[in-house]
Symmetry: C2
Subunit: 317 residues, 2 copies
């Protein structure tokens, strides 16, 4: 019996298709700290085959229903597929909200499908560090496709979905009304646009709205032009075209060298985030809690400013 959280045993076990070990490894990654780092490290040389698809959009846009349909298509093509759903978690339930997962019960008994919710609570940047680790665990476990589903409304959440090989942005007819909902952030990361619930009024307006914005964004002749697709995910209408657009974008990235560029950029950003995180932990370990309290008192009394206090912690002052 391996110890439940021994990183080497867990990574070895998830390679054999042990779904319990996979679930435990992801829990360790979600909690962070040294065991999470160990698992990410051990998983890294074993991966490299997974293709990641980000799927994001406003709350209620139909992301989970669409994910569910895409999972079905991948399975019919014979591919295993994993889903990481980043949910706002509730302090009242103590965990992820279950609504979305209920909609994915179609695949609950299929061993070729692995669905995992991750909470977005905790310290700033926690999600940005934990998500790539989760992807590499699923990669090491042999999943050729990993879907990252997030609520596309905040800076971190949009970045997590944007840090995929192909990113699908889901909107609804009438989405222009909620113009403050980080529309700009969503437009920047979209490789494929989906107007879901296209049987409702306003789908054509939403499409011409998106087209206009794409024209204004001055795409070059060598740039990928995000297709704009209409779906009714509850009936499955248009979903096959979404999956086809994802695979076309993948081919375009692979053939043109863009995939390597994207992945390098992502690694660079991840390394930067790790450097910041490690140095911060170290700096705070160097300063005792009592000492930090003293500095905060000095800052509060306006004898010291926050930047000078930070310099004292770092040891420059």
């Amino acid at each position: 019996m391996p110890r439940p959280h021994d990183p080497e045993a867990l990574v070895a076990a998830l390679r054999t298709g042990d779904r319990g070990a996979l679930a435990r490894a992801l829990s360790v990654v979600e909690q962070g700290g040294p065991p999470a780092v160990d698992i990410g490290r051990l998983a890294w040389p074993l991966g490299g085959q997974a293709y990641t698809v980000g799927l994001t959009g406003a709350p209620g846009a139909g992301k989970s229903t669409l994910t569910n349909a895409i999972v079905g298509l991948a399975r019919r093509a014979g591919d295993e597929i994993a889903v990481v759903a980043v949910d706002p978690s509730s302090p009242f339930t103590g965990g992820a909200i279950l609504g979305d997962r209920v909609r994915m019960q179609d695949h609950a008994l299929d061993p070729g499908v692995f669905i995992r919710s991750m909470a977005s609570r905790g310290h700033l940047g926690g999600l940005a560090l934990a998500t790539p680790q989760a992807v590499r665990v699923l990669d090491a476990a042999g999943f050729p496709w990993v879907i990252l589903e997030t609520v596309g409304v905040g800076q971190v959440e949009v970045e997590v979905a944007g840090a995929a090989d192909t990113t699908v942005v889901v909107v609804n007819p009438g989405w222009g009304d909620s113009i403050q909902a980080n529309k700009a952030g969503l437009l920047e990361i979209a490789d494929v646009f989906v107007i879901n619930k296209a049987d409702r009024p306003g789908a054509d307006e939403a499409r011409s709205d998106l087209r206009t914005m794409l024209e204004l964004s001055e795409l070059g002749p060598d740039d990928w032009t995000p297709p704009i697709l209409l779906t009714a995910a509850t009936t499955g209408e248009g979903v096959a075209e979404v999956w086809r657009a994802v695979t076309e974008h993948r081919t375009w990235l692979e053939d043109g060298g863009g995939l390597a560029v994207r992945r390098q950029r992502r690694l660079r950003e991840e390394i930067r985030a790790i450097v910041a995180h490690v140095l911060q932990s170290r700096a705070f370990a160097m300063v005792g809690a009592a000492n930090l309290d003293e500095l905060v008192d000095e800052v509060e009394a306006r004898r010291l400013d926050p930047y000078r206090a930070a310099e004292r912690i770092i040891g420059d002052d």
Copy 2:
């Protein structure tokens, strides 16, 4: 003539009520870098009088209309007031979306009101670092009230609004439908709940929904119980009660010592963020770009993992 971005001249000028200098100082803060730090430092010993009110909620909840009404109330009480509105910015317009600001034109000609949009684009954490700097510039300029208005849908955005002395969360009837919209995060930071557009159906259900959630959150006898207020901000109905609740919460915090605790916690978090930011910049300055490229190549080839690459940059390996 002072140089337009000379920090000392800018801070001296904003002390004299020079609104042009104030606007330039905020632009410098928004852009970040050493000049932003200099301005924050110079402004820090001059401040300490401003009381900050966070105001957040889903897109379209009526935040700006409510802010507009609150600004009117503060002005009628004879107080100057500043508003920092954190807007998702558009890559297409190159700046903040103007819709919200249009709604605040009531106060465009009042010199006792200062309204400023800040973009939420840029690197992760940029907003979290820039907002407290903007507040201390406005504090140094002598504003006794600073409202921080954000779209309450993402991790960073909710944290920015939550990092105020009093935080007002604005919802609408029927908000329970969009359960994925970081409801949990909003509930955690609320000192005052406002159900805006309360003339629409569902206001009573929204209120009993919020009450139930407050009961489940197990507030202690010494905790503040967030009041739940109904408004129709477009007509001004209920807005005076919101402002009264804000001032009551302020009195409660000031009398019970909670204000100092909150502000200390915020300073502590800010110092942590600065430490991380400074150390990260320094670590990357130490490694040449070419060297980082080499490391990324090694990681991509799976000969090195991202954590080991980070250690090499830091100099541990």
